[in-house]
Symmetry: C2
Subunit: 348 residues, 2 copies
């Protein structure tokens, strides 16, 4: 088949198997699966994950949550990035509550926890306190979680963490253990002070399998649905479990050791974790390296492979699938169906 | 003013001044200005550039050209990235020709030039041969331009180059000179063989001022309309001429030396040229560095500056404006107007 390139294509059978496998693992471990929708940005695929047994959905932004609600899959939502309750954010929270969402929100500091507790005196969103388990991004130090939980008042619903330090190769098991340890410590401290910690949420695609131990009762992987080259590179997923491709056409072959594809940074993004070489992987030319990425050009070194011809179409596995999906309005399934990326953008 | 963040804001007065200045420079030098629309992806701003005196527009893709045509600004278009004439690309070319566009297309190899010459025996798109002046991306070696020009037959319209090696600091003058030299050599060689070279096109935002010498008769800068941090870093633009900002909110301040903004890679992109530090510049905290960028988090090290409070809004100048604009559906002008990014996506 000749594609109108560049285009994102997803193997439907591999994707379905990924959805099912993650659900089976979570169910067997006795934890709830709350997939992160920022990977697929699609209410259709969120629906599929819920039908497979997911108990709710994770979002990165309130506007993603509003999009899910408008698409009819806004029953149980957790916005897992801390935010400041400006008038526009509060308006979205109110919209979601009025639409009947069971809404959970990330908080990691006293001032926001206090503002929300005052704003919703009779109850409203559930506040989940983010604890830093080693990624040093957002999240309070575990010893400071208790006052933040207390500031949430009646809105306090639990604790969560993101073991982002589990992404590099060989780090997932230790980071997963950090997630469990830090959440257990925090839970114990809050319970010792008389609090009730209902939600104890952890886990990304690399760490989810390593953090399903007690007391964690929920995991939030996202990338697992599609896979990508960084998840193969760090050992979290097998190459055969990668469902996503960017199909690209050779538009120029100006030298024996170099050719150019039409998949630039405006579809591949410039994500490049330290443990992968180049800006994506070419399964048909595993020795070739996408050395340079411009907005609309990908410059590939053949490194001794026989160069393709102008007009040839090649499959590229992107380094990081989340920004790729966020660059397209829709993608193709191998079944021939088209999936709208209806939550694309939705930044606020 | 409190923004619903993250959001792209453009200073209308600075943008207008940039449009006018580039036009004045081109007019004074006696060359045509053909701005690259991939930077703003907006038919409204394309119209503004034409009204200021631009003689036509540059696109990166045929679907951008179709978008401009549909918006009523498709009179004189040059798609400056080589492509392979698949059925879907040919359909777009035909659509543009039927709509009355004066259409120029980039070619850099014999097979595509020959295919297009056969496909349009009675005339059609003008083919402009790309020559490599040192960026080693697309473009034929100058000594190989003559056979490609010959393969274009009656469609041959001229030559162009992109001196992308002029982006790093201190390189613009030499790269601009390379553009002029390589185009002059190529023109002379084609003319010596009896060809007529109407279009001689060069120039990016850093190199445009350095390549307006004879025989160049057209320049194609794009970024100049907004500016960005890499153009300040390489000396091509002054900080006061940067019109674009990403407005972001401090969502977390978990440590004395670190805070987190809500402008992640899904709005700033991960572009990071070697000559800038971090993933964007904070004019209000010039010593601070955006050290890590996740999809929805920007982790900033204060490097001794007094950290801001959760809820504070900060201006970020992005490293590279083109991918930023391509991530939003619209942006704000300081006049209060909203500019739709109607060519966003348009990858094919």
């Amino acid at each position: 088949v000749m594609f109108d390139t560049p285009v994102v294509v997803v193997d439907a059978a591999v994707m379905d198997r990924n959805i099912q496998r993650a659900q089976t693992v979570a169910t067997a471990a006795g934890v709830r699966l709350r997939p992160h929708v920022k990977t697929h940005k699609s209410s259709l695929l969120a629906q599929k994950q819920l039908e497979a047994g997911a108990t709710g959905l994770t979002c990165a932004t309130l506007s993603e949550a509003v999009g899910l609600s408008e698409a009819g899959v806004g029953g149980d939502l957790f916005v897992a990035v801390p935010f400041y309750p400006s008038p526009s954010k509060l308006a979205r929270i109110d919209l979601l509550l009025e639409a009947g969402s069971d809404l959970s929100l990330a908080v990691d500091n006293l001032s926001v926890a206090g503002l929300l507790a005052i704003r919703y005196p009779g109850g409203g969103p559930r506040l989940i306190v983010e604890v830093d388990s080693g990624s040093h991004r957002t999240g309070v130090d575990p010893v400071e979680a208790l006052p933040v939980a207390a500031a949430c008042g009646d809105l306090f619903g639990g604790v969560f963490t993101h073991g982002g330090h589990g992404y590099p190769p060989g780090m997932a098991a230790a980071a997963g253990a950090d997630e469990v340890r830090v959440l257990a410590e925090t839970k114990n401290r809050i319970e010792a002070a008389g609090g009730r910690v209902a939600v104890i949420s952890a886990g990304s695609t690399p760490t989810a399998a390593h953090c399903v131990g007690d007391p964690v009762n929920e995991v939030r992987p996202g990338t697992y649905i599609f896979g990508d080259w960084q998840q193969v590179g760090n050992g979290a997923m097998a190459l055969d479990d990668v469902a996503v491709s960017v199909m690209a056409t050779v538009i120029s072959a100006p030298a024996a050791d170099r050719f150019v594809l039409d998949c630039g940074a405006k579809i591949l993004s410039k994500d490049q974790p330290a443990w992968v070489e180049g800006y994506g992987h070419l399964p048909q030319m595993p020795g070739a390296v996408i050395e340079r990425l411009y907005d609309n050009h990908a410059v590939v070194s053949t490194h001794g492979d026989r160069p393709p011809m102008v007009g040839d179409q090649l499959r590229v596995i992107p380094n990081h699938v989340c920004p790729v999906i966020n660059l397209v309005d829709q993608f193709l399934l191998t079944t021939g169906d088209v999936v709208p990326v209806d939550l694309r953008g939705h930044l606020t």
